[in-house]
Amino acid sequence: MQTNPADASRAGSPTRPGRAGWGLIALTYVSSALILAMPLVLIVTMAFRNGLDAYLANILAPDTLHAIFLTVLTAIVVVPINIVFGVCAAWLVTRYDFPGKRLLITIIEIPFSISPIVAGVIYLFLYGGQGLLGPVLADNGIKIMFTVWAIFLVSLFVTSPFVARELIPLMQQQGGEDEEAALSLGANGFQIFWNVTLPNIKWALLYGALLCNARVIGEFGAVSVVSGAIRGQTNTLPLQIELLFNDFNVSGAFAAASTLAALAVLTIVLKAALERVGATGRR
């Protein structure tokens, strides 16, 4: 899905626009400003509308700080696990043929297109006190629902396909010739992966990890079902935003939102940078 601005041999290369072109461009300017940019501007304006001191006080409120901590912690736990899974899954479906492969790919992709509410619900039905496993686990002193563990688990579910989705098309397109060659030279599996495959997929891998990270940090629906909303304990940053909004603390809500918006901007800047490096680095 990447664009390759560096590829000049391609036919439909960008040209200087004519009169109709400028019309379309003007339309793009206006609509992008209204639809995409304005929400960002609003968040920053609202977050700082009571001045910098009020903003800092809002950000440093203990419950908001804890929410930031919990959100970062969740990303730190979830993203590496889903990177490992994504690489394994991509390697499996692009390097081997086996019966049931299409079904496996579909199962990998399910969390991507399912409503996050359903994601929360299925975990509640499994680990809840009236769920399938919840009572058994509770008898053994293991509590999952309404703890950070439940937040980790639903986040793992929701973002499990992100890395694999980026890697599979790329690894399919690249084929396995390089790896076959390395194999014939006597390299073992890990050497092949580390020295041959990884350099080829590193940009897509980072891109997938970046998307995965963004989604973990921002997940709302699934986490809202399993968190229990204990202030300063199981409230992630997106939940804290809703809580502050409902506490009549609109500037607090926007201050919290601004930290997530800043992360979002960082994400798209990094993504754009990755694409540029990736486009030149791949050829």
């Binding site: 730190i76 736990v77 309404f146 590193k202 909303a229 909004f245 409902n246």
Partner: protein, 340 residues
């Protein structure tokens, strides 16, 4: 990019250590934290109560405690406790929600006899919040059924607050229409047809009315009505207490199943007892809840208008009957809710 890989590795080790530490500290130490799972609009109240309870407990028992809070619609919270939300105490706004827990052996069946006043340290009533100057002239329950009145209430299915509104409207109608069930239902249908938004919690409903300017009247607890006027200013909103309303008692209970497992019973019981102390009652009264402590009653008398309060027992024959006849699926409540 080996450095990035290394960073990820370090991060994941750090994370593993951290979560381990979190889990272990929970398992080993004698817990000094309790969780109060409460209804939606009591957020600020219990924040204030906790701030005063902590030094008071430190002075009497010598222990530093933490009180955590979770707020949402009362019935939803009861459901979460059943699913494993480890509440040491519940402070709900309706008897039926604690009965839900008692039915599953989370709470002793005689919980109402454990604390004074049927385990209700304070009470309130459904009242109205209207826009400045009360442009639609909403002063009594009768006005709610008029054409063109936009109502905001929390969902009676998820929030005790919303159910009190239903019961209060019905109690008024029962008197007004002398028990003529057809007229009562007709009235209630008109009221619910006027509802613009059913939020799942009481505070969301307030936000809908105040922040998003939906509707002409918000029906919620008097404490929330007066608290909102104080929070956002009386130049924008007027509080209206109808001449008749329903007594809304806010019951509390220790969740036996949880405190026995965690060993937090002393803190949990002290916490609920604190709500009955003069100090506790004073805080509760300052958040526009009606209280029973004589000193607090006297102190906050001026903020509460006169109102005749109907009791659930008198109008409906008790909570058990209310639950069976009104709130059960397909019951009288379902009959008057639009398209639920």
């Amino acid at each position: 990019m080996p450095s990035l890989k290394g960073a990820y590795l370090k991060r994941s080790i750090f994370a593993a250590a951290l979560t381990l530490a979190l889990g272990v500290s929970q398992a080993w130490a004698q817990p000094t934290d309790i969780l109060n799972v409460s209804y939606d609009v009591s957020r600020e109240l219990f924040e204030a109560v906790n701030a005063k309870f902590i030094p008071s407990y430190k002075a009497s028992a010598g222990v530093d405690v933490t009180v955590n809070q979770s707020h949402a619609g009362s019935s939803k919270q009861a459901g979460l406790v059943l699913e494993g939300l480890a509440a040491d105490v519940v402070t709900f706004n309706q008897v039926t929600d604690i009965e839900t827990l008692a039915g599953k052996q989370f709470v002793a069946t005689d919980w109402q006899s454990k604390y004074p006043n049927s385990a209700s340290p304070f009470y309130s009533l459904p009242a109205f919040l209207v826009r400045e100057g009360n442009p639609k002239g909403i002063v009594s329950w009768a006005d709610l059924a008029k054409d063109g009145v936009g109502i905001v209430i929390p969902n009676p299915k998820t929030s005790g607050n919303g159910r009190y509104t239903y019961l209060a409207a019905r109690a008024w109608a029962q008197e007004e229409f002398a028990g003529d069930e057809a007229k009562i239902e007709d009235y209630l249908k008109k009221v619910f047809a006027n509802v613009k938004v059913f939020d799942t919690g009481g505070r969301q409903a307030t936000t809908t009315f105040v922040e998003n300017k939906i509707g002409d009247v918000l029906i919620t607890f008097e404490t929330e009505v007066l608290g909102t006027v104080k929070a956002v200013g009386d130049d924008q909103y007027d509080a209206v207490t109808p001449p008749v309303s329903l007594l809304a008692e806010f019951p509390v209970a220790v969740v036996d199943k949880v405190v026995d497992e965690r060993g937090t019973r002393p803190i949990a019981e002290a916490y609920l007892n604190y709500l009955y102390t003069p100090e506790g009652q004073d805080i509760i009264g300052s958040f526009y809840n009606r209280v029973n402590d004589a000193a607090a009653v006297e102190k906050y008398k001026a903020q509460f208008p006169e109102v005749r309060l109907i009791k659930v027992e008198d109008a409906f024959g008790g909570w058990a009957k209310v639950k069976a006849e009104h709130f059960a699926e397909g019951g009288l409540l379902d009959k008057v809710l639009p398209n639920l």
